[in-house]
Amino acid sequence: MEFTLLFAVLTAVATMGATSLLLGRSGRIAGIERPVDVLIGAAVIGMFAGRVAAMVIDGVNPFANPGQIILVRAGVDTRVASVTAVLALLWMTRSRLPQIIDAVAPIAAAGLGGWHAGCLWRGTCLGAVSDLPWAYGIEGSSVTRHPVELYAALGMAVVALVVSKLTERPWFASSVTVAGVALVRLVTEPIRPSLSGGPVLFYAMAAMVGLAGVFVARIRPAAPPGSLTG
């Protein structure tokens, strides 16, 4: 039995809950009750799709081996999971899209930060070898390493903090979130332990999409005051 992954997920959920309370966005937003639950639902759908995609990529037939779908621990395709989660969120909030997406954007960024900080439960914070003063090593090892997952958690927290201040234009906060989160992952990916080099191209594309969204949102009219939290 392994509960460390569960603890990491619960850390992400708790971070999202705390952030929504701090920002006053835990109740009804734009006619939708408990938008954080909608966000969590979208994340679970994305995780499921990402797991199935990882199985297919690994050559495992999900229909012949349905039991393996629950082995999230064995790998989730980040690209498919992210895109599916975003699509699920779009579908679940389709009638009030910009308000909901912008309102939950900092909460999502904080949740991702909580997920990365969950490495402390799992013992998976470390990346490339480093001699920096804050670098530390695996117990019993003389090699010290970058705590790359904590860098990512810190980066996501900064993104969440910045985005929580942005309320003036539809799609602006969500676009900044996509760009910021993608850039954090893009910057940390080279020092993350990986056999394949990681989905760097995906994060670069996501950053560009986010930045394009920021540009488009800037040239659109401003939203009415209070529209993101009412």
Binding site: M1, E2, F3, T4, L5, L6, V9, L10, V13, D37, I40, V44, M55, D58, G59, V60, N65, G67, Q68, I70, L71, V72, R73, A74, G75, T124, L126, G127, V129, I138, S141, S142, V143, R192, P193, S194, L195, S196
Partner: protein, 158 residues
Amino acid sequence: MRKLLILLTVLASACGAAQPVASGGDLPLFDAGEFTNRLEASERPTVVNVWASWCLPCRSEAPLFTAAHAEFSDRIDFIGIDIQDTQEGAAEFLAEFAIPYENLFDVNAGIRGVLGGQGVPITYFVAPGGALVDTHFGIIDEGQLALALDELIQATSG
């Protein structure tokens, strides 16, 4: 929220269980003494992955070891040990995942007596000369495997 917690609990606790034993002869048979001598005589680090064809987590981590072998086989030796399995199951498993490195058949799980541990999968990281550097019990993901391999190389290159 309650449904979510139940789902998450199921996801996190998924793991394999012991199965009945059978015997056969296609894969070379594991011998504890020979294997110990081999590790002690090795001049390169060795990764030993313990698996079984009936073990779901083993199926999911098999592609990772194939990828790791492609990346690190010039610096690290890889050996698979199939425990508590049938030769038929082993052959199907190896063919399905196109595992490129050597595998041994260990019907009585004697590897656990040599390197310790319980359950399956288990992954042992062994230094040249046979010293056990690290043991990972249960399923291993890409980040953990990549880190452990780098740690093994760092620990044995100095």
